[in-house]
């Protein structure tokens, strides 16, 4: 079986013995052009894996920063079709950085699962994270996605106990995303000791890489996570940076890209020094 971009990237991180940086931005935030510019420049700024948010009107598991980011994108006419187009454009210049689409099920369901999987694969998407599809609903998208050759990355949380973990891990591939707090994105952060223990627990159940997210905002926090996990995920802090350059009428300043990339560079430096 050929390896996927995600598998290759985590293997490379392992041989470089450093933790990775997974960056989340919302597709089309603040608008299509700036979002594409930002997306293209994330790898050189130090993003190892890119999570690209599919905007949704009702992001129930997300905090205010990502909600606002979704709404900025939607207000500027973002759709799932354009999100896939963004990935197609990105892939013209980058064939190695893994891209994972992250979001909620309804826009995909509305697009039609078979058509979506076909178009996502063709665009160069590597994996999916769909927040409101637990293992109990695997037939909806997870199984078809695996058949289509896409990784389906599952969230494990502090409420996922040892008894349930095998269920959660059963059809997970690529990596496991550990949600370090019971809560929504971009709010509080977990204690390092708790994260370390949780990653250890996950590692007893799976050989997959473990990325940890929720509440990581600074380079130091990212470094602390990268010490104990395979990667740190940062999202709310990045989209907040973008949001800071959007005025009340929704007009974005091009500075949004530079400023966000500056934060990515800091975070990347953080994960790179973590295990030195």
């Amino acid at each position: 079986m050929t390896t996927t971009r995600i598998e290759r990237r985590f293997a490379a991180l392992k041989s470089a013995s450093r933790g990775g940086l997974v960056t989340f931005i919302t597709a089309g935030d603040p608008n299509y052009e700036l979002s594409l510019d930002l997306l293209r420049r994330l790898p050189e700024a130090g993003a190892d894996v890119i999570e690209l948010g599919m905007p949704f009107t009702d992001p129930m598991a997300d905090g205010p920063a990502i909600q606002a980011s979704s709404l900025r994108a939607l207000r500027n006419g973002m759709t799932l079709k354009k999100t896939l187009q963004l990935v197609t454009e990105f892939r013209k210049g980058d064939t190695e950085t893994p891209i994972i689409l992250m979001g909620y099920y309804n826009p995909i369901y509305s697009y039609g699962v078979p058509a979506f999987l076909k178009d996502a694969k063709a665009a160069g998407v590597d994996g999916l994270i769909v927040v409101d599809l637990p293992p109990e609903e695997d037939e909806e998208l997870c199984i078809p996605a695996l058949r289509a050759g896409l990784n389906f990355i599952r969230l494990a949380t502090p409420t996922t106990d040892d008894k349930r973990l095998p269920t959660v891990l059963r059809n997970t591939s690529g990596f496991v995303y550990y949600v370090s707090i019971a809560g929504i994105t971009g709010t509080r952060s977990a204690a390092n000791a708790d994260v370390s223990a949780a990653v250890g627990r996950l590692k007893r159940h799976t050989d997959l890489p473990v990325a940890v997210g929720f509440g990581i905002k600074t380079a130091d926090q990212a470094a602390a996570i990268a010490k104990v996990a395979d990667a740190a995920v940062v999202g709310s802090a990045l989209v907040s940076r973008i949001g800071a350059h959007v005025d009340e009428r929704g007009t974005a300043s091009p500075k949004a890209v530079e400023d966000t990339l500056a934060l990515v560079r800091e975070l990347a430096a953080g994960v790179r020094r973590a295990r030195q």
């Binding site: 129930m60 205010p64 369901y109 637990p134 969230l155 996922t160 949600v179 019971a182």
Partner: protein, 411 residues
């Protein structure tokens, strides 16, 4: 030759055995929630199964229904209304006479008893019109549990009396500023709270929607409405009613009335959605008439949404019906064509609101005013021995300020 594909589904042996083990009513329902909530959802399902099998739970429910809620609620023959329309005999199921003024308490009582059995120490709820928030705050006061109610800012402005009521009852009312600032956004915010406080908190969902097992347990707690109507109508007329009518937002009062009658093929059943400015205008809350299947708030059901799967705003004069979705069992009954789903506009509901006040001395809530608006269309066309039961699921005290404003009256 018999056609293998029929345009209308064949009648079933029963419409009352859903959902399946996956929480599905046909393709609708399910458990579309974040992993953080999933273990708890499974725990709620287990606890509810155990409660249902425990005669003590039934006894407790019976006690509070009788002594606290004030059940059974009367099935009232409305003589002047009947005379006014000049057709079918109209009966009103008086669930507006329950403690707290609506059917919502039937469900809240069941869920808080369940929460207590599960050892939960904090209650959250979402509310639109405030009726569910008031009912939740009430049972929380009764059982001494802290209560947080999420309510959209738009709804807070149009349902001031209920906001004050909830505060009197000791609840914290959190204004929701996201999205359209109505019921849908209140539900998003309640889910965010739940994810954050999952260990301590029980979420009392107000309608027959949300992830499995909520649509089922809310239906079961509300079915007391229809069960009472069965024996009350037998006492009054010696037979089953011919037609049932109820308004539908999420659909809990309607499901409570309909469910015990679904297998009685002679009983015609109408659910009345909120037509807002008219379904053809796009400004409405009629998910079945104007929406298509999608996934939101833990279940697959009919939703108001655009071609990209983004949720559209609902529009209704009634805060309680102002929701872009509907309970999954209704979605299924719609596809099975067992229940007919229709709509009434804001204007029609306002007329019905005034009519019932003048003719029967009963000020209805704006929600059941939609049901009455539909009754006013069919009753004149039906024979005098035709029996209609309309669920008068809430009283209108909470709405008088909003109605006065719509009628251009300064209070």
């Amino acid at each position: 030759m018999i056609a293998l594909t029929a345009s209308a589904p064949a009648p079933r042996n029963t419409y009352r055995n859903g959902p399946d083990e996956f929480g599905r009513f046909g393709m609708f329902g399910g458990r579309f929630v974040a992993e953080t909530l999933m273990p708890l959802i499974l725990e709620v399902e287990k606890a509810y199964k155990a409660a249902k099998a425990d005669p003590k739970f039934a006894e407790e429910m019976e006690y509070y229904r009788k002594h606290y809620i004030g059940r059974p609620s009367p099935l009232y023959f409305a003589p002047r209304l009947t005379e006014h329309f000049g057709g079918a005999k109209i009966y009103l199921k008086r669930d507006e006479l329950n403690h707290t003024g609506s059917h919502k308490i039937n469900n809240c009582m069941g869920q808080i008893l369940l929460a207590k059995r599960m050892g939960k120490t904090r209650i959250i709820a979402e509310t639109g019109a405030g009726q569910h928030g008031v009912a939740t705050a009430t049972v929380c006061a009764l059982f001494n549990l802290p209560c947080t109610v999420y309510m959209g800012e738009t709804d807070i402005a149009r349902q001031q009396p209920n906001v004050f009521r909830m505060k009197l009852l000791g609840a914290e009312v959190v204004p929701v500023k996201s999205g359209t600032r109505t019921l849908k956004d209140a539900m998003n915010e309640a889910l965010r709270d739940w994810v954050t406080n999952v260990e301590s908190t029980f979420y009392i969902i107000g309608t027959v929607a949300g992830p499995h097992p909520y649509p089922t347990l809310v239906r079961d707690f509300q079915s007391i409405i229809g069960e009472e109507v069965r024996w009350q109508m037998a006492e009054a007329e010696g037979r089953l009613p011919d037609t049932l009518v109820a308004c539908i937002g999420g659909g809990s009062n309607a499901m409570g009335l309909f469910h015990p009658f679904l297998d009685d093929q002679s009983v015609e059943v109408y659910g009345v959605e909120a037509g807002g400015d008219g379904v053809e205008t796009g400004r409405h809350a009629a998910s079945l008439t104007g929406g298509r299947p999608g996934v939101l708030h833990g279940n697959r059901t009919y939703l108001l949404q655009n071609e990209d799967g983004q949720i559209n705003d609902a529009h209704s004069i009634s805060a309680g019906l102002d929701y872009p979705g509907i309970g999954p069992e209704h979605a299924w009954l719609h596809d099975m064509k067992r229940v007919k789903y229709v709509s009434a506009t804001d204007k029609e509901a306002l007329e019905a609101f005034q009519l019932l006040s003048k003719l029967e001395g009963i000020i209805p809530a704006l929600e059941p005013s939609h049901a009455l608006a539909y009754v006013s269309k069919i009753a004149p066309t039906l024979p005098k021995d035709h029996l209609i039961v309309m669920n008068l699921c809430g009283r209108g005290d909470k709405d008088i300020f909003a109605v006065a404003q719509h009628l251009g009256v300064k209070l």
